[in-house]
Symmetry: C2
Subunit: 397 residues, 2 copies
């Protein structure tokens, strides 16, 4: 329906992203049609180092559909080549620690002089300003400081990290929204701007439920295991089955009555201990024992089918290996099996945003280190082969 095949077909992105945060942002930009040129230092970006030989799977999963070149930004020639790329670019993505680009004389002030239409997008752990702005920004430390750990785990156990890289990915996807907002505004004003996201800021809103419980009632523990954050909904928990676990959410009376029918305890429908969600929440242990007494003797997938048929919301706790092979994610283009020239067969993520005016992206494998350096230098920037080789000998790439 639209005139372009994909949303960002005409957009050029220079990408200094590393590890997860910046690269997730530029991955989605590339999937939306942008031409993304990933620039790595001569030794490769840190994510490549996670395996000794060949490609780290994380690198392969986060760098599909990108051009790849190396460039030594500490050399005079490297800086000049970088500036040539910036002159024609629409967007720069970088998630170095605060001040890195300024120390290279490649900060926003330097680059906007070359290209006032540039959108300079920076993501860091704690942002440019504020008392924590020089704190080390690993996902682990973000989860600690942001409160994610304090609200994850069981009341009688230690604070626990979420097993997902929530800081990195919340940072990266907020940065994507920032870039797209700035591209929209540039269509109206003709001007670029500096867009900044901090992982710490972007994680904060996700604490909504425990923060509300904290505002409502200071007696609720910060961590409630798999129970509701406010201990105010029941049944709401993860229950053990004969062969795994299942999450059940049966908090309305309609759900509860259906559940009682399924487990053969209609006699409890009028029991005053369980007659409302509030009453059930005052008898959490009794409700959970009742439900788990039934689930523990049955298989996870049978329980799921039975409960869904009865209209009781539930979800099987899928194992990682099941998720890696999930038929729904495959059908939706979120799991793409590719044969990567260096890694071999691997599944890589797709684009979690669907536009009716665009097709889902075709997936091209992540570049080997420096794969496209010569192409960018000679075909795009117009250097001769001899010039390229001279720079190569000098260690510029």
């Amino acid at each position: 329906m639209s005139m372009s095949d994909q949303v960002l077909d005409s957009i050029d992105v220079v990408d200094l992203g590393q590890i997860y945060n910046g690269p997730y942002c530029s991955l989605l930009l590339s999937y939306m049609g942008a031409n993304v040129t990933k620039i790595e230092p001569p030794h490769g970006e840190p994510l490549r180092d996670r395996v000794k030989d060949g490609e780290a799977p994380e690198f392969v999963m986060l760098n599909s559909n990108k051009e790849g070149m190396t460039l030594n930004l500490k050399t005079k020639e490297g800086k000049e080549i970088f500036k040539e790329l910036i002159e024609d670019a629409d967007v720069l993505i970088e998630n170095f620690s605060v001040g890195t680009m300024e120390r290279l004389d490649l900060g926003y002030g330097d680059l906007t002089e070359l290209n006032p239409e540039l959108i300079y997008a920076h993501s860091s752990g704690f942002g440019e300003e504020g008392p924590y702005n020089e704190y080390p920004a690993m996902d682990l430390t973000i989860q600690a400081i942001s409160g994610v750990m304090d609200v994850t785990g069981f009341p009688n156990g230690p604070p626990t990290k979420a097993g997902i890289a929530v800081g990195d990915f919340m940072g990266g996807i907020h940065l994507l929204a920032g870039v797209l907002g700035a591209l929209y505004e540039r269509e109206l004003t003709g001007e670029g701007q500096f867009v900044e996201v901090s992982m710490h800021d972007s994680v904060f809103p996700t604490l909504m439920s425990p923060m509300a419980a904290h505002f409502n009632d200071d007696n609720v523990p910060p961590r409630t295991g798999n129970r509701h954050s406010g201990l105010a909904q029941s049944p709401y928990n993860v229950y053990e089955t004969a062969d795994g676990y299942i999450a059940i959410f049966g908090v309305t009376n309609r759900h509860w009555h259906s559940l009682l029918e399924v487990i053969g305890r209609e006699d409890l429908k009028d029991d005053p201990r369980f007659e409302s969600n509030v009453k059930r929440s005052n008898h959490l242990n009794e409700v959970d024992e009742l439900v788990e007494g039934w689930t523990i003797e049955r298989e996870r997938d049978d329980i799921e089918e039975t409960l869904l048929d009865a209209g009781v919301p539930c979800g099987p706790v899928k194992k990682l290996e099941e998720v890696a092979d999930d038929p729904h994610l495959k059908e939706r283009g979120m799991i793409n099996e590719i044969d990567h020239p260096d890694y071999g067969k691997i599944s890589v993520p797709g684009l979690p945003i669907r536009f009716s005016g665009s097709d889902l992206p075709d997936i091209e494998p992540s570049p080997s280190k420096g794969r496209d350096t010569r192409k960018v230098m000679c075909e795009r920037l117009g250097y001769s082969e001899a010039e390229f080789e001279e720079l190569e000998e000098k260690g510029v790439f």
Copy 2:
């Protein structure tokens, strides 16, 4: 620097969002300057129900800067008024379950006929298509099915939910990126489109680390507690202190040697068990006991200061009440203390994306139910007071 004060000053959003997912998307749209009209059913959106009287804090935290009206979309008149609003809108946000709007004859096909420039943004648990598309979409069930639970918690403990609403918020922020991408494309093509996000899809990429560990080595357990997902980095853990916990990430030899100096164990610098990250990862328990033997006797904030001075990355595990009062988040405008007319004093989140061309938003309290219904009907849509009151008596609002 830009001509408009904020990125989306000229954009009108009709917002049917409920609970967390849609409302987070429209909250950020409103903070970016859009005029967001939140439409609730006559009894209010479900999030209001979480407390008996007054306003639920979650509702207050997610609905700042929005106009609020009620409208009964099941009445003929309600549908007509909704269509009048859509005719002049740029964006519609909704996160009802799949098929709800079609059953009301207000699906994308119906609305795009009225307004071909409309961007219709829909978020759901599992998306429009695929084998799970009718599964119930609570954050709890998304975390179960997506693998988040399988990778969170300790190897000898049960799968554990992340205490944050990762499905809802990853869904909402991906939807925001989708809306902004579609607004950009509309500037080029003049046409709107249908944008879709599923919570399940949007969570999948965050499994990056455990998925890579799964690809690398099937012997690593899916849950590694507070240790590295691949058990391949050390020291990397959360350590108990005299008064809490601290996350320490000292995986390079430089970090490790600094840490040994701080804890007075320089004698171990040449110990072959600990001479590289790989060796340390083969002796995880010994490394962790060594570190925790030192941290357990000291106070969290003293440890933090000592380690940061020594260049060892770490982060205090902040308690929820500390996060609610975090000085960094306050200084950055992420925590805003307001005096809400119905709730009273409360802190609400700000905009985690900073645009150099815009000021941070001023925060206006969330609307009471139906606060702006009359204003929208009479001032924007031009109904007379008499017409408004007649419709009101009919139960249209």
